[in-house]
Each structure stands twice: as structure tokens, then as C-alpha cells.
Amino acid sequence: MAQCSRPCLRGVGRRGVLATGLVVAPALLRPAFADDPAALPPQPGDRFAHLTGPRKGQVVADGDLPLGGPQVQAYPIDIKSGLVRDQSRLNLVILARFDPATLSAETRARAADGVVAYSGVCTHQGCAVNMWVTSKSALYCSCHGSTYDPRDGAAVIAGPAPRSLPSLALATADEAPFVTGGFSGHVGPTQQ
């Protein structure tokens, strides 16, 4: 395995292996409850673990995010324990990186070196916002086409979603983003 020159997790499963090689106890593989740390929403200090791709399970670094999009899917990870908070679908996060000058002032204030993080759960019906519209440079929901502007607070620019995606305020250290606060609003839809 290649050496990590930046924060990373080696061979991590869904629930975590630390960069130091510490294996998280299998006892953590239990049903999710409200107090399950793996189901807690993103916590200050959390970083992000790739959900897919060649770096699946490893910590998201700024350089993993192509400038100008598309987004990358991830779950928050407690870097100290290696615990990935993937036991609630509502914790799905999407990250993307842009030229900071292209971000709205409010978005730039919550971004870190141009990296933005939003809930990956559509506010319409709760599907994953995991598609990308190249022509609009926009985030796109995989169920009903809600389209969000990642440069402007994930404001809804098309489709049925009633409100923007909640964002996470970020800072950066070691060229990787981490969480500095909770989601800016209610995650996901409200059931009728």
C-alpha cells in the first residue's frame, strides 16, 4: 500500500481503520441507535471518508476534489477513532472544490480553500444528490431532478426541492477539510 502523504485511512472498511493501523472493534457493528456515535450527525473536528472510488474509505483531501466539480460523496469520520458515521443515511455529505472567487460571499465564509460541503440528502424526497449537470455546473438529485447551485449555498435552481441543501462550515488542515459546526438546517425532507 502506498504511503499516505496526507491524512488517509488504509484499507478502511465502512466502520473504520485508522491510519495508524488500529482496527476498530467488531463490536461497533451493531444496529444504529440515536446515541450510536456512528449515527451522530457530523461533529466538529470530523473529516470525511470517501464513499466510492479508488480512495473509498480514505479521508477526503482537498486534492481529491476536482476543481470546478463534480462532487464527491462521503460520510463524516472521527479521525481519532476511525469511526465512520455512516449508520444514518442523513449523514451523507457531498464535497466539491471551486475557485473561491466564484463562490457567493456567504458560501465562501463557510468554505475552506474553496471546498464546500453540503448534505447529500435531497430536501425533496431524501434521495442522494450524487449527480452532476455539466452544462449548469450544478448538483443534481438522482430521483426527481432537483438541481442545486453549489457556489451559492446549494440554492435550488430547478426541480421540486423546497429548499437548499444544508451546508457544513469547514476549515482545512493538512490540505484536507474538516467540520467546524453542524448542518446549517434540517437535513432531508419532512415526511407528509
Binding site: 464513499l51 472510488g53 443515511r89 442522494a128 449537470v133 452544462s135 438522482s142 426527481h144 431532478g145
Partner: protein
């Protein structure tokens, strides 16, 4: 004789902010196998009216001579948005309507009084591509609702209280349920959705009384099972799709269930080489065991999202001077099939006619196997345009058959295409996994076409086309209902209209503008000697999404207002 509802107990019980008025025990007529096999004309006991799947009622009090006098007699808001796709089910004056988000309303069918309401609490983080419900099933004194979260729920028909719940599958893997169950001899049959998420489809039967699983039949064979040789690449069968997302039909004499199977997963056939049985097929299942007795695959190695989700109608028709026990099915591929069924479950091909222009099948051979034009078959890294597009010549909305006219009525769409290519994608359970992202669908229409949606009809005996109704500024997304009054009822257009046509001539005889667009199947019933026609109006899901695209392509108004209302009509006095 229609049972009167005058004795309804309205002992209201306040439960979680909702008023529930339980039916007295004497005011509900249990549903039996005999009643399902021979439904009374005054009732609409199952989604398509009968096991044959005709969407036909012999009632004729409302007819082509008086339908102009049809007026609304009551309506009720469902309180939810999105696509309402369930018919009002009526059992001796008690109506049950399923709505999006796994809810059920029980109503006095004559007065509209709300008797009870069930609202399912869906799990945190749950999502479904289609959050609709296509209806409940009735048996004994229970109402069966397939929950979106892949849990089958049995409700007490008198109170709405939960009698039992049965987990069908793990929703986190992408399974969900939207179809109405089919009742077969004391069992509740359900099929699963989730083809876009890479599930392996199945149909499962549960004991109606206890909720215990009786049998489960996968639509995709495991290695070693018959048909597994049609999955040539190892492990592709595990995520091969074949969702069973619409209700089946049933031949009680032969005890054979006919169930439709969706397309393969991911969408691009070159990623799962082989014919891929039983995707895009009709299955014939033994009603007692679920054993596959026969099948017919409409097209092989599916690559166009043309599910064969609708079970064929059981229609007997003329052939070679006699009458054969037949199956009739307008397929999403744009072809109308005449098939023959035998008592052992065998299905044989007779004929197929293209009911909308289609550029993929060069011909269909004598065994019913299409010869595909590879220039119009999209693949991985291979762009192809195909028409009709992925929503097909018709999508799930039900066709109807009238034994009085001998005609089949098809809610159809044409002059639309898609053009895309596939990619190899990593599967995340519960996420879209088709090989093509929605923004890359490249849906198109012929902008110079004179129409897009239509009702198309055929004489089932001669195969000759009959009348057409063309919609110049709308697609057609409405299921149809035929009646003994020589009428065809249906909505389906973006102008929110509910319409009645003369079944013989196609003349529009009546229309009423509702609150929203109508996707739900209409039903008709009789209470205290009065015939009613009922339909839920509530636009959403695919028609609403498609309307957005058509707004860009054709300038149609994008906003078709949403929000469900159940309308009930009768002829004014």
C-alpha cells in the same frame, strides 16, 4: 343487492390528532376467494376490477347517453402531494384509497365520510425513487398495504389498526414497494421495486391471516436454476434488476398467476451478457407454490429501460376460426402482443403489432423474438438514440379492455426519444445504479409533431386499429376504465382534465377539470342503487419530471399543481 351503510358507527376516537370512526362489525363484508373470482358488479374489489385485469365494470347506469350529466357529489383532500396512482377500491359501500407516502384513507363511498386513516411512519433516512402507492388489496376483514419501506402491512378494515407487519426486504439495499398486492387463495402476493438500484427482483406470497411468508420466487435465477445460463457473466445475476413492481393478474381456474418483470440492471446489456431471463418478461407462476411454470420474454438483453412490468390481460380472442385463451399486453417497447396461455402455465407467441413508431426492432420472428437494430441499442461507451424513449410507448398506466366492444384501449405516448451511452459505475446500495446519470438522458421530442399523448385502440379479434384520441399539448399518463355503459374514462393529461369517451367511437362526451393531473386509475361502483365513478387526482413523480423537460423542449407550462383529491361523480338528478 347493495348493502346499505346507514348503520355506520361514527364513534369517533381521537388518535394522534386524527378522527377515526370505526365501522361496526356488521357494516363490513369480508372478502372471500369466491368474491374475488366473481366480483359483484357494484364493487371494485381489486386494482383492475377483476383477476382478468380488464379495468372493466359491467355497470351501465352511467352510459354514453347520460354521461353529460355527470357531476361531482363529494371530494376529499388526501393531504399529500406527489403522484397519486391508486384506484379507489370499494367493498359494499366502503372505499379504501392508498396515497403516496404509504397512507390509506377509508371512506363512506356514498357520502365521503372519513372512517379512518393510516399513515405509515417511514424510517429515518428513507428515500424511494417513486414514493407512490398503486393501491391496497382486500381479503377477509383486512386491508393490505405494501409500505414504501418494503414492509407489508395488514390493517383491520373496520378500524385501520395494524393487524400485522411483515418485512419483505431491506430498504437500505434499494428495495421498495409501490404495487397493489394480488390476493390468491388466502395469500397476499407482492413484488418489489428497485430496478434502478441494482436489486434482484422477486415476488413473495404471505399468509393473509398471519403474515408469514409462504413462498418467494426470484425473477432472476441463481446459478444452476433454469434460465441461469442466460446470465453469462459471473455474479451479474445478483444485481440484475428484474423488479416486479406492478400487480399481477390471475387465472383462478388454472391457478396460474401472471406477473410482469422489469428491465435488467444496470441498464446496459453489454454489462450483463446473455438474454437475462426473466427480465422484460411475463412470468406464469403456480398460485400455490410460486414455481415458475412458464414465461415469455418480450426482448432479450434489455438496454432501453423498457420494463415488461404490466401483467398481460387475460383476454380470449379469435384465432383461426376459433377462440383461444389469450393474453393481451401493450408493452412499453411500443408493441401490442397477442399471446396464448395454456392451463399448465405455458405462454406462446401469436402476433405483435407496433402501436407507436419504434426504431429498435427490425422485425419479430415467428417465436416472438425481436431482431434488434444495433444502431439503436445503447451500450457502454456506445451512444444510441432510440424511440420511443425510455418512458416507452406506454409506461405503467393500465390499458383497458371492453368485452362489449371487443377493443383494447391503450394510454400511449409517441414522438419522443432518448439518446445516451452507458458507463461502468460502482454500486452503492440504495443509490441510483443504471450506468447513466439522469442529466445525461438526452430526452428529445419531435417538436413539429402534432401530438404526443394519445389513446390508441385495437379490435382484439381482428387486430385492426380503431379510434384514436390525440393530445397535442400533453403526454398521456392516465390509466383507463371501460364500463358497460359503453364508456372509457381516463385522465392522464397535464391540463388536469378527467374525461369520458364513447367506447365505440372515441367521441369525447364529458370532461371535468380537477385540482391536479390524474395518473390514478378510475374505478366505478354502486351504492344504494346509484352508480358512481371515482378517481384520485394528484400529479407527481415521472409525469411531473417529464413535464419539466417538455417545458424546456416545447414551452409547455412546467407547473402542474400538485396535491391529491379523490373525486366521486354521479349523474345529477
Amino acid at each position: 343487492m347493495t348493502k346499505r351503510l346507514t348503520g355506520i358507527s361514527l364513534a369517533a376516537v381521537l388518535i394522534v390528532g386524527a378522527v377515526r370512526a370505526a365501522l361496526a362489525a356488521s357494516d363490513y363484508t369480508p372478502v372471500t376467494d369466491e368474491r374475488l373470482a366473481n366480483p359483484e358488479p357494484q364493487n371494485w374489489l381489486m386494482t383492475r376490477g377483476s383477476y382478468k385485469g380488464w379495468s372493466y365494470s359491467p355497470l351501465d347506469q352511467i352510459n354514453s347517453g347520460n354521461v353529460k350529466g355527470l357531476v361531482p357529489v363529494w371530494a376529499v383532500s388526501t393531504g399529500v402531494d406527489s403522484g397519486h396512482e391508486a384506484p379507489p377500491i370499494v367493498n359494499n359501500g366502503v372505499m379504501f384509497v392508498a396515497t403516496p407516502y404509504s397512507q390509506v384513507m377509508a371512506l363512506n363511498a356514498a357520502t365521503g365520510d372519513l372512517l379512518w386513516r393510516y399513515r405509515r411512519k417511514l424510517p429515518e433516512g428513507f428515500s424511494a425513487l417513486h414514493n407512490t402507492s398503486r393501491g391496497v388489496a382486500l381479503y377477509g376483514d383486512k386491508v393490505y398495504l405494501p409500505g414504501l419501506d418494503a414492509v407489508l402491512v395488514a390493517l383491520d378494515a373496520r378500524t385501520g389498526n395494524v393487524a400485522w407487519e411483515a418485512k419483505v426486504e431491506d430498504w437500505k439495499q434499494g428495495y421498495y414497494m409501490t404495487m397493489a398486492p394480488l390476493i390468491v387463495k388466502g395469500k397476499v402476493l407482492v413484488g418489489v421495486s428497485g430496478g434502478e438500484f441494482g436489486v434482484r427482483g422477486f415476488i413473495e406470497a404471505f399468509d393473509a391471516e398471519t403474515g408469514k411468508s409462504v413462498w418467494k420466487t426470484y425473477t432472476i435465477p441463481a446459478p444452476g436454476e433454469p434460465g441461469s445460463e442466460t446470465w453469462q457473466k459471473p455474479d451479474t445475476w445478483k444485481t440484475g434488476g428484474g423488479a416486479a413492481w406492478m400487480t399481477g393478474n390471475y387465472d383462478p381456474d388454472a391457478n396460474i398467476v401472471y406477473w410482469g418483470v422489469g428491465n435488467g440492471s444496470p441498464w446496459f446489456g453489454d454489462q450483463r451478457p446473455g438474454d437475462n431471463l426473466y427480465t422484460s418478461s411475463t412470468l406464469a407462476l403456480d398460485g400455490d407454490t410460486g414455481k415458475i411454470k412458464g414465461h415469455f420474454q418480450y426482448h432479450q438483453n434489455e438496454s432501453w429501460d423498457w420494463d415488461a412490468m404490466n401483467a398481460p390481460m387475460l383476454v380470449d380472442f379469435a384465432k383461426d376460426g376459433g377462440t383461444v385463451k389469450g393474453l393481451l399486453s401493450p408493452q412499453r417497447s411500443g408493441y401490442l402482443y397477442w399471446l396464448q396461455r395454456d392451463n399448465d402455465g405455458g405462454i406462446s407467441y401469436i402476433n405483435a403489432e407496433r402501436y407507436v413508431p419504434q426504431n429498435v426492432f427490425k422485425e419479430i420472428d415467428k417465436n416472438g423474438r425481436p431482431v434488434v437494430d444495433m444502431d439503436h441499442k445503447p451500450g457502454t461507451g456506445r451512444v444510441a438514440q432510440f424511440c420511443p424513449g425510455l418512458w416507452g410507448g406506454k409506461d405503467w398506466p393500465y390499458e383497458a379492455y371492453s368485452p362489449k366492444t371487443g377493443m383494447v384501449y391503450i394510454p400511449a405516448n409517441e414522438n419522443h426519444c432518448n439518446k445516451f451511452e452507458g458507463k461502468v459505475e460502482e454500486r452503492v446500495p440504495g443509490q441510483w445504479w443504471t450506468g447513466v446519470a439522469i442529466p445525461d438522458f438526452h430526452f428529445s421530442v419531435d417538436t413539429k409533431a402534432g401530438f404526443y399523448g394519445e389513446i390508441k385502440t385495437y379490435d382484439v379479434n381482428t387486430g385492426k386499429p380503431g379510434w384514436r384520441q390525440l393530445y397535442s399539448k400533453s403526454m398521456m399518463w392516465g390509466s383507463l376504465l371501460t364500463t358497460g355503459g359503453n364508456l372509457v374514462f381516463g385522465g392522464g393529461t397535464n391540463d388536469r382534465e378527467f374525461r369520458a369517451y364513447d367506447a365505440s367511437t372515441g367521441e369525447e362526451l364529458w370532461h371535468f377539470r380537477t385540482n391536479s393531473g390524474i395518473q390514478a386509475p378510475p374505478s366505478t361502483f354502486e351504492v344504494n342503487g346509484v352508480q358512481y365513478v371515482a378517481v384520485a387526482s394528484g400529479y407527481g413523480v415521472d409525469p411531473a419530471f417529464q413535464q419539466q423537460l417538455l417545458g424546456d423542449l416545447l414551452g409547455w407550462q412546467k407547473d402542474v399543481p400538485q396535491g391529491g383529491v379523490v373525486w366521486v361523480f354521479a349523474v345529477g338528478k
